[in-house]
Structure formats: structure tokens, C-alpha cells
């Protein structure tokens, strides 16, 4: 006789599933595709899988995680409720919020994202209506607050910032002992969590709980303003890192810090850049500066050290030691960041001198540490990083690609924002271009993804040779000799926002070839060192500041990415920023970052002979080793044949 099946309906989505008797509600939810938080994995310890039984009956094991009152109202733990009848079950808002955020994050990160995290921001606000001080109850102000937190929220053993103590007396009395307390859960290096009162405000300010996620790139600084009540991105912004006038790569930046006042100056510049993004965001969203409660920042080791004013001198000198791989929270205002002095700054743990918090952040956001399929993660930035591995192991390396991917060091280059040419096609007969800009605005310049598609288009149309040099025999008024040698006019002055021709010079092409060669050679060298061929990668995750899209086909054509089946590639945008956002959403994520940072093994490429060989081999379009790029070589061969034929005829 078959085992009896029951029908379970989950509200509010009204999702229905048929499930065998005796299964738990958690299993039923999984089968129905309904998300229920279950941080402990269904062992009944965490109590996060709480649901409400609307109708029907379940068999329960007792749990300390439910109060008697809750039990009476029909609340149960899904993991410990066995199905014994048809049921209608309500999913609680806590779970739903989490669900919605995860779904949104999943959409943001396309097919890859980190799993199994609970929405639990490190910052929480608690509203207290305390009894006024009287002669009979004249305990200290702080004791009063502590007593309230204990009575109303069962919170005790909290640390408290001195700044809170200083302002508490006035704030308490401002609106008759009605206050909002902000509590920070700070994760320490040993995985312990310390709770700390960081702010007290008059009245109920719970509605205003914002945080900032920042990606500090060598070339660009990107920030997002987050609404922590809704787990929502309110706005994005991107600016050039103001340090770029002091060198385009981390090495020259380090060199500059060794000059008198050099470190101080660069520290101020990156802080200015962050402050500029904050100003942009606050204006866009009409949010009060004082309502920002937390900042998380991810950057490469050098960027993070300079931001914190830590001398990066020894990063540059063999044997390349960073100051610290884990840095405790510091007050953001003390670093010069223009926010209230209650705000703490979280910086990501790093792996080595050249594999920093940005890559740890990206790997966490991509979830590659949770899956067993062999993955290649590439962060295409000025300081390019490569991670190879899966949930069991990860090796990583960094290589200096230069700023080309972010539009730096390119004559008409710009960051991926409105007006940047992000896609390009060329008519092989007339050699006329078709350009697509971000926001469909009139072009102002070209960003990384635009460069990649332009160069791929040029290659296949025979406008440039495999060495990246223009074929100046071609008859087109767009190919001309300019002040920096041969160039192609992407847009004439009258079509642009800037009133001058937007061109792509041979020097620009050369810069991009160097950048892509460094990335590919790094990937080649690291994979060979672990005896893996490019074809073995089951998934390739790409991160970078390319705006909304990166054309994989074009990136393969120029030899930036390995020539393997296209469906294995996923582009996740700015991975470092995604990770920085997620630590604001969940303490589980901050724990994961610590684990990921410890898991990674660094391979030093700076003194690696093989890397140098591979680099020269990759300085060609697509690559000197044509066998590694069969589909590109084939496409290119067809074009070359047709060109030779037409010239011969």
C-alpha cells in the first residue's frame, strides 16, 4: 500500500504541494519551492523556521524556541512539524522579507549567488519608551536604557560607546524618555560576536536605517546606499578614485605613500572620493546624513590599507607582507568619512598583499565557495584577480592589468556611466560603426565593455591586425592619423556630448591588449599550477565595472576569456560591491567572508617566470597559441581569407 499523501498550501503565495505523510513542513516547503529561513539546517536549534498553521494538523516535537502563547496561536517550527493531514500554512513576514531580498539578489547576480543566509543586518534599531526618572527611580540614565533593553528585548551584556554616554542625558529628555537605540553586532576574528550600543536618538527613528556599501577600486570608487529596513538598494554611484593623479596602479601609489606626507595625502584623496559618492547618494535619495548607520568597504589590500592610514610600504617589498588580513571595525568619521561619529567602518578580510578584500567579497557574493563545481572567478579590474576552485579549495592570484577595463589610460575612456559607449558593431563593408551608450545618451566616451567590443569588431572586420595595429590601407574616413598615431573615429564631434571626436587610438588598443594579456596569462599560469586546463572549468564567473553588460563573445574574440562553451560564463557586474552590500544584509555573510579569506591560497605571480612567458604569448589577438582559441581562429581565418581574396581580385 502506498503511503498516504497530503496537500499542503503555503500562504501568502498560495503554493501547493502533495507530500507524503510524516515529512516535515520544511521538506514540504522545499518541495513547493517556498523559501523558509532555516539557519541551523533543520535541527530545531535556531527557531528561524517559525510558521503559522492556518488549518490542519501537525505532529510536533516540543521546542524551547516557541513560547506557550505562540504555540497556542498555532505557531510551529517547520523543521519539527510532521505532516499528518492536509494543511494550510502561513509563511511569516520575517521569512518573506528574507525571501524577497534573496530573490532580488539572485536576480542581480544572475545565475550565481550566495545561498543560505538569513536577513540579519549587523545594525539594528530598538525603540524604547522608558519611564521618566523620578525620585524613587533615579538610577543612572545608562542603567535606565540597559534596563529597558533587557525588559523589552531581552538584550543584555552590551558594550556601549562613550559617545553614546556623552549624549544620552540630553537625548533621553528631548522627547520624554522615548528613544531609539542602535546596536551593532561586530564579528571578531575568532568568530565571536560582540554587541555594542553605538547610538541613541530621541523618538522613534526605526524607519530610518541606512547603510553604505563601498567598492574602493584602484581606478574607481562605487557606492550604494542601502535601506536596511527593506533590504533594498536606494541608489548607486561611481566616481574615479581621486588617487589616480598619483599613479594608475597600486605600485606607484605605494611609492607615493613613501614621500613626505604621501600616505596622508592619498588617504585623504580616497576619503574625498568616498565622500563624493556619499554626497551624490544622499542628494539622489533625499536621506539625512545622520541616518547612515554603517559602512562596509571592499578594496584590494593596498586600497584598504591606504584608506585606514596603514603604511603599505612592506606590501611592495619582497617578501610582500600586508599589515593585517583582518582589521577590526573602526570609526568611519575618524578616517575622515563624512558621516555621524556613531558609524563604524567594516573592511573586508584579505588574503595577501595583492589579493584583497575585494576579491574575498566577490567570491562570497558569487557563492562559488558553496558549490562543488570547478569555477574560475575573474575580477577584471586595474588590479585583476583570479580565483580557481570550489567549495573544497581555492587558489588565487593577482596580476596588474592596468586601468583599461575601467576606461582609465584610454584617450577617450570613461567609467561605465551615462553616455559611455558600452557596445559597438562595425559594418564590414562600409566600416561604419554602430554604437550603443549607457542610458542611450549621446556619447561622451568609451568604457571597458565598449573597448572590448570595438576591438573584437575591428579584428573581425580586418580594421586591425592580430597585433592590434590599424590597417591603414583601408578606405574609410574614420581611419586616420591623429596626434597619437593611427586612430578610428567612433563618433564625430557633432554626435557627441563633448563636442569633439571620440576616437580609439593604437595606444588605447595596446593598453587593452596588455590588460587582457595580464588577465589571461594569470589565469593560464594559475590553472596550470594546479594542473587544470581551461576546458575543465564548469563555470566562469566574471566581475568588473563594465556597467550592465559584458559581451562574452567579444571578450573571447580578443582573447581575454578562454574559448570554451559560452553557456559556462556568467557576468555578475561589480562582485566586490555585491559582497559589500550583502554584509550589510546579513551577519551570516560576514562570517562567510572570514571563512573564505582563510580558505584561499595565494600564488605569487610577480616573480613567476612562467607568468612572464604566458603574458608575452597573450599579447596578441586573440593569442599566440591559436589552438587555445579554435572558434576565434576559425572566424578570423574566414575573414582573412575573404580579405586576401578580395585584395587579390
Amino acid at each position: 500500500m502506498s503511503i498516504k499523501k497530503y496537500r499542503v498550501i503555503f500562504l501568502p503565495e498560495n503554493l501547493e504541494v502533495q507530500i507524503e505523510k510524516g515529512n516535515t513542513l520544511l521538506e514540504a516547503a522545499l518541495a513547493a519551492g517556498v523559501h523558509i529561513n532555516a539557519s541551523c539546517g533543520g535541527t530545531g536549534v535556531c527557531g528561524t523556521c517559525k510558521v503559522k498553521i492556518v488549518s490542519g494538523d501537525v505532529e510536533n516535537e516540543p521546542s524551547q524556541k516557541l513560547t506557550k502563547a505562540e504555540f497556542a496561536k498555532g505557531y510551529r517550527l517547520a523543521c519539527h512539524s510532521h505532516i499528518i493531514s492536509d494543511l494550510t500554512v502561513g509563511i511569516l513576514p520575517e521569512s518573506r522579507l528574507d525571501n524577497a531580498i534573496q530573490a532580488r539578489e539572485n536576480a542581480l547576480l544572475a545565475r550565481v549567488s550566495t545561498l543560505n543566509w538569513k536577513y540579519s543586518p549587523p545594525i539594528q534599531k530598538y525603540y524604547l519608551e522608558l519611564p521618566s526618572a523620578t525620585i524613587d527611580d533615579n538610577t543612572s540614565d545608562i542603567s535606565r536604557i540597559r534596563r529597558g533593553l533587557k525588559q523589552q528585548f531581552d538584550l543584555e551584556g552590551l558594550l556601549i560607546d562613550f559617545d553614546v554616554i556623552k549624549k544620552a542625558p540630553q537625548v533621553l529628555r528631548e522627547l520624554g524618555f522615548k528613544i531609539t537605540i542602535t546596536i551593532l553586532n561586530a564579528l571578531e576574528q575568532d568568530d565571536t560576536c560582540l554587541r555594542r550600543i553605538i547610538n541613541v536618538e530621541a523618538g522613534d527613528t526605526r524607519e530610518h536605517l541606512y547603510a553604505l556599501a563601498v567598492d574602493i577600486g584602484t581606478t574607481t570608487v562605487c557606492s550604494q546606499l542601502l535601506d536596511l529596513n527593506r533590504g533594498k538598494i536606494l541608489a548607486n554611484t561611481i566616481v574615479f578614485n581621486k588617487q589616480i593623479s598619483y599613479g594608475s596602479d597600486v605600485i606607484t601609489r605605494i611609492a607615493y605613500t613613501q614621500k613626505p606626507e604621501g600616505l596622508l595625502k592619498l588617504q585623504k584623496l580616497v576619503v574625498d572620493s568616498i565622500n563624493e559618492t556619499i554626497d551624490n547618494l544622499l542628494i539622489t535619495c533625499n536621506v539625512d546624513r545622520n541616518d547612515i548607520s554603517y559602512i562596509s568597504a571592499a578594496g584590494n589590500t593596498v586600497m584598504q590599507q591606504i584608506l585606514l592610514g596603514l603604511d603599505p610600504k612592506y606590501i611592495r617589498l619582497s617578501p610582500y607582507t600586508p599589515t593585517a588580513n583582518f582589521i577590526p571595525l573602526v570609526k568611519a568619521a575618524e578616517q575622515g568619512i563624512n558621516v555621524g561619529n556613531q558609524v563604524y567602518l567594516y573592511t573586508f578580510p584579505s588574503v595577501s598583499s595583492y589579493v584583497g578584500g575585494d576579491i574575498v567579497s566577490g567570491v562570497v557574493a558569487s557563492g562559488m565557495y558553496q558549490r562543488n563545481k570547478l569555477t574560475l572567478y575573474m575580477d577584471l579590474g586595474t588590479n585583476g584577480e583570479i580565483v580557481i576552485g570550489n567549495s573544497d579549495w581555492m587558489v588565487t592570484a593577482s596580476c596588474s592589468a592596468g586601468p583599461a577595463f575601467e576606461g582609465g589610460g584610454i584617450k577617450c575612456g570613461m567609467v561605465a556611466m551615462n553616455g559611455a559607449i558600452q557596445d559597438f558593431a562595425i559594418d564590414p563593408k562600409t566600416l561604419e560603426p554602430e554604437i550603443k551608450t549607457i542610458g542611450d545618451a549621446k556619447p561622451r566616451g568609451i568604457c571597458g565593455s565598449g573597448l572590448i567590443s570595438a576591438i573584437a569588431g575591428f579584428m573581425l572586420a580586418g580594421v586591425i591586425g592580430q597585433n592590434g595595429k590599424y590597417n591603414n590601407q583601408l578606405k574609410s574616413k574614420r581611419i586616420r592619423e591623429g596626434t597619437d598615431g593611427w586612430e578610428y573615429v567612433l563618433a564625430w564631434a557633432k554626435e557627441t556630448q563633448i563636442g569633439q571626436d571620440i576616437v580609439l587610438t593604437e595606444i588605447d588598443i595596446d593598453n587593452l591588449i596588455r590588460a587582457k594579456a595580464a588577465m589571461y596569462a594569470g589565469c593560464d599560469t594559475v590553472s596550470r599550477s594546479v594542473n587544470i586546463a581551461c576546458a575543465d572549468f564548469k563555470q566562469v564567473i566574471l566581475a568588473g565595472n563594465f556597467g550592465s553588460s559584458l559581451n562574452i563573445e567579444n571578450a573571447i574574440t580578443i582573447g581575454l576569456l578562454p574559448d570554451i562553451p559560452r553557456d559556462r560564463f556568467v557576468f555578475i557586474g561589480n562582485g566586490s560591491l555585491s559582497g559589500a552590500r550583502l554584509v550589510n544584509y546579513s551577519q551570516d555573510i560576514s562570517q562567510a567572508t572570514l571563512r573564505v579569506a582563510r580558505m584561499m591560497t595565494n600564488i605569487e605571480l610577480s616573480e613567476n617566470n612562467e607568468f612572464n612567458q604566458n603574458y608575452i604569448a597573450a599579447m596578441f589577438l586573440p593569442h599566440t597559441d591559436e589552438q587555445a582559441f579554435p572558434s576565434v581562429t576559425k572566424a578570423l581565418g574566414n575573414h582573412i581569407n575573404s580579405i586576401q581574396k578580395s585584395e587579390g581580385g
Binding site: 591586425g465 592580430q466 604569448a617 599579447m619 596578441f620 599566440t624
Partner: protein, 317 residues
Amino acid sequence: MAIVIPKTIYNGKVKEIKLGSDMQAVSVGGENCFPFYLFEGAMPHKPVIAMEVWDSGTEDWPVAALEPFKDVISDPAAWANKCISEYGAEMICLQLVSTDPNGMNRGATEAAALAKKVADAINVPLIVWGTANIEKDTEVLRAVAEACQGKNIILGPLEEKDFKKIGAAAIGYHQTVIASSPIDINLAKQLNILMGNLGIPENALLMDPTVSSIGYGIEYCYSVMERIRAAGLTQSDDKLQYPLICNISKETWKAKEAKVTEQEDPLMGDAKKRGILLEAMSALILALAGGNILVMRHPEAIKLIKGILDELYVPSK
């Protein structure tokens, strides 16, 4: 148990290329094994010696190098013929030193006329070597290609910056070209790919890996040549299967070790012997690394190396 001698597995072959016009052709390359590994494969042609003829600038030569050519030094055609008839040169390499814009800066037309004169006067293939000045070589070698139409002469050096224009002329007038790269296997391969894209036929391309004298980094050249051969022969990399030409004597005879006289430094010993040995031994090293054409100068150095190559070149039964 009998000892089994391990054998290299080859899956490629150096392209066999016929140089010069049909009347006076010389073939190079064609080996399907490492140089002189005749116990593992076939090497149809021994390395070929091309003798140098300079159109000017010999006043800087050491006495020993100049001595055999004193009587013909001002007449390149006669010089070339003396090399062939008296010293057994299998090819001639005309070095157009006079066209150097930092020196005499002789014009392209004049240089082309000279190249044609030499080509007409000899019955072996002619190599015409420029000054490695991008603009000037473009001008001169294009003119030479045109003037020597029908001779299948060999033009070099063609570098990444000038291969297109010189290469186009070479294709047009059916000449062979030398792809010259700066001691790097990847750059060598890249240039060969570009040559192919341009339309240079596979049987009209030689590679110059850039060489230097003993004492001036020859180990590095050796290693790059060895890797080029290994890629072509054992990894069937068809872009690295072209014959290698080594323009070596120019390098050895300008070295201090060849130039200093015995009077200036008695410890260095007999200058003539020294210069000859430096040239011969440098050339031998490059032959062992896979050189197919050795550009040489002194008759005695040539005699010496030919003797050694004959001894090495004993096909196994």
C-alpha cells in the same frame, strides 16, 4: 634485459624551402627531428653557409677578417664571386650597410641597383640584409624586391613595424622574406602569424630569432631557438616550423674579443686565431640549436665549421 633507448616523439617537420631561382636553387629545412638527431629522424639538408658581402663600412673590420677580401672589398659583385669560387659559399648575404641613415645614408634606388648587380653576377641565392631602420628598410627593401624580380632573393630583416609594406612588395615580386624578432619565441610566432595573414606564402618565409656572439648572451639565443624547434617538431606548432637564419658573423667580429689586437692585450693571444674561433664556435652553437642558414665571414671559420658539420651529419643506417 636489453636497454631501450628512449626516443623523442615528433609530430611536426621544419618546412623545406627552396631558395633562389630554379637555376641556382638551394634547399633548407625539411628535418623532422632535432638538429643532427639523425638516429631519430631525417635531416635532408645540412645547415647552409651564406657568406657576407658588405657594400661599405669594412674599415671597422679587424685586420684578420678583412685580409681574405682585400682585393675585392670595393666591388661587391667580385667579392661575392670570390666567396663562391674560392671559399665554397652556398649563398651570399649582401649587407646594405651603406643605407644606414645614421651613416652614409645611401638612397634606395642606388642600393637596389647594387643588389641587382650582385644577384645577376652570382649563381647562388642572394640574401639582402638592411640596417634594421624601420623607415629606411621599408624604402630600400621594397626597391630591392622590385629590382631583383624573378630571382627569388631573400629580404630581411622584416620586423613587426615594417613587415606589411616590405612583405607586400615581396609577395608582389615573388621574393622570400626573413621575419625578425627579438629573442622571444612568442614574438617570433606572432610575427609569423601576421606574415601569414598578410599573404606571405609558407614557402617564402625564414625566421631570424636574433643571435649574438659567444660571451654576449648566446645561451639565451640557443634556448629560444631550441624552444622554437621543440614547439615546431614535438607540439606540431605549424607557425614555428620555418627554417632559421642566423646572421652571426656580424656579431662576433664586432665583439671586443675579436677586435682587440695582440699588441693591445698580449694576454688575449693571436688576434686572427681568436676571431676565427669566436666566429666558428658561435656559428656551431647556433647550428646545434637548429640554425638552417649561417651567415658567416671568415673563410677559415667556414672551413672549420664545415668540417665539424660533415662529421656530425652522418645519417644512421
